[in-house]
């Protein structure tokens, strides 16, 4: 009695009396009650695994296969073979049958599937903590102030600004910029945007 009950599953496990395509059976596996999505194991493990080692990239463009297709068999170059081995693991079984290719004519290849190369990130690759002493260059202050002054002069000329031409963006200047931006239908930010520079023709170009 018991023996017969286990006989059938054992035969199935051994591959007897089962559809030959293994994929046809895997989706029926389920993780059981702890799985809220009722996702199958197959679904979980196949999920968009896009990554391939950089060395295997050539594999995706099935260029090497075209020679197989044309029927000039026996030309497996040794190098391409190693890449097969490393990427497909132990899938070379005795039962492997090459897919039947119907049309030998060149077909427009589908857009290449995106393959993410493994990043070579290191621990500590990220932006390092800021150095304490940055080089003291005065260029930025000069450039900054000279543009602010030109904006101040232009706003003064157009009657939006009454303050000093000092190269400092203070509250009075921010208010002036806002007023100007509103009058010109520009995004009102109260900052010196590229639109403000263009509208005032201050840009260096």
């Amino acid at each position: 009695m018991k023996r017969t009950r286990f006989l059938i599953p054992s035969l199935v496990a051994a591959g007897f009396g089962v559809p030959t395509d293994a994929l046809a059976t895997t989706p029926q596996l389920s993780l059981g009650n702890d799985d809220p999505n009722k996702a199958t194991l197959f679904d979980i493990f196949k999920q968009g695994h896009l990554v391939t080692l950089a060395e295997h990239r050539s594999h995706s463009s099935h260029r090497s296969h075209s020679s197989h297709r044309s029927g000039s068999g026996g030309h497996y170059s040794h190098t391409s073979h190693t890449s097969h081995r490393s990427s497909t693991g132990g899938s070379y079984g005795g039962s492997y049958t090459p897919p039947a290719y119907e049309a030998p004519e060149p077909v427009t290849p589908p857009p290449p599937r995106r393959i993410l190369p493994l990043r070579s990130a290191q621990p500590g690759e990220a932006t390092p903590p800021p150095a304490d002493a940055l080089p003291t260059l005065s260029g930025r202050t000069e450039r900054f102030k000279s543009i602010v002054k030109r904006v101040q002069i232009a706003l003064l000329a157009q009657g939006y600004y009454q303050g000093a031409i000092d190269g400092i963006v203070g509250p009075g200047m921010r208010a002036a910029i806002r007023k100007f931006q509103g009058a010109r239908d520009l995004p009102v930010t109260g900052t010196i945007t590229s639109e403000v520079l263009d509208a005032l023709r201050v840009s260096s170009e």
Binding site: S120, E125, P130, T136, T141, I147
Partner: protein, 360 residues
């Protein structure tokens, strides 16, 4: 070496993110700042946050960069450099491990920059892979996962490589991590030895190995992609074959196993003599580990191993792994045929440890 931080003067009082542009382009974004002035000392951009004057770099080198501007610190951080495959965001400097060779020693304080980093990611170049590092990013697991979910939903062309010590994944995370959005994430997780005691010693935390095994179980239930990372030190060199057996039997679900040479920075700087392995003298344990991995179909690779220092039959596994901004070559590399494919040396690699380097 490429500068990641530049002195800057900004009109805005608070930190902000901007993408620097030398000219207007079709994909204009509200966070774009456009070039308005340039001289020998540097460049000036104008965007929604006002003027931004940066010193020390020409506009052509900055075009397309996504920067984090820190007005009070008087600097910009080049978060995502245009055209670079080595962009990494540092989400925290806190960490709950203290690895002997840590290249970026942790700090106690945490500055929350998640919102700014998220804004930066949305401006990333198409199809880029963004690194996330620390510190330990999963100390802020909730924020981290939300950031990934929101960005991948908005930018399905992006992918992430997250460096994590794997100490914080729980059964409760499995359902969330099963979201197909996380197929865009590769988790880089260090494991230094098969022996729990030795691993714990190297990472400076008792029980770390056991906790890592739990996390790996949760991650495999989530269908996560995992790159295991083993940095070579004197203590684990002889243990490498044992680790290879563990990896190929217990961790078959891994996407890759990276065996990495030491970086002369952070803690490793002062402990160089106790840590550094001259692999060109004793490659046998590494070779045994690589052979075992290959035999079992586990893709293993060598990171930070200059090609001429690796026996010829393993040379193809030596990836050009050192990030562009910290890579250099020594004088003898000038005439080397394999220079382009070679990882080179860390900018801060001690010259004494480059002995024996020869052109191929």
């Amino acid at each position: 070496m490429i500068e990641l931080t530049l002195p800057a003067l900004a009109e805005a009082p608070l930190p902000f993110v901007a993408r620097l542009r030398t000219r207007r382009q079709d994909d204009a974004h509200r966070d774009d700042a456009f070039l308005c002035d340039e001289d020998d000392a540097g460049v000036t951009f104008a965007g929604a946050h006002g003027l931004l004057a940066i010193d020390g770099m020409a506009s052509a080198a900055l075009d397309g960069d996504v920067v984090l501007v820190q007005p009070d610190g008087g600097r910009v951080e080049r978060l995502l450099r245009a055209g670079s495959p080595h962009n990494t965001l540092l989400v925290t400097e806190r960490c709950d491990q203290l690895c002997v060779m840590c290249s970026q020693p942790p700090k106690k304080t945490h500055i929350d920059r998640f919102a700014l980093l998220e804004q930066a990611c949305l401006l990333a170049e198409a199809d880029s892979v963004i690194g996330i590092s620390g510190g330990e990013p999963t100390l802020y697991k909730g924020q981290l996962l939300s950031l990934i979910e929101r960005i991948v939903a908005a930018r399905p062309d992006l992918a992430f490589h997250v460096l994590t010590n794997g100490q914080h994944f729980e059964a409760a995370d499995v359902a969330r991590l099963r979201n197909p959005l996380f197929a865009h994430v590769l988790w880089g997780i260090p494991l230094y030895a098969r022996d729990p005691g030795l691993h714990d010693l190297i990472v400076g935390k008792t029980g770390a190995f056991a906790r890592l095994e739990q996390s790996l179980a949760h991650l495999v239930m989530s269908g996560a992609r995992i790159e295991l990372r083993t940095v070579l030190v004197q203590d684990n060199l002889a243990e490498l074959p044992a680790l290879a057996r563990y990896v190929t039997t217990r961790l078959r679900f891994l996407h890759a196993w990276s065996i990495m040479q030491l970086e002369h920075v952070g803690f490793a700087r002062n402990r160089w003599a106790q840590l550094y392995v001259n692999h060109s003298r004793d490659f046998a344990p590494i070779a045994a580990a690589l052979d075992h991995a290959k035999l079992h179909g586990m893709p293993a690779r060598l990171f930070n191993f200059p090609r001429c220092t690796v026996p010829e039959q393993y040379r193809y596994l030596a990836a050009a792994s050192i990030s562009d901004w910290k890579r250099r070559y020594v004088e003898t590399c000038g005439s080397c045929r394999e220079r382009e494919a070679c990882t080179g040396f860390f900018e801060w690699h001690p010259d004494a440890a480059t002995a024996g380097v020869h052109p191929l």
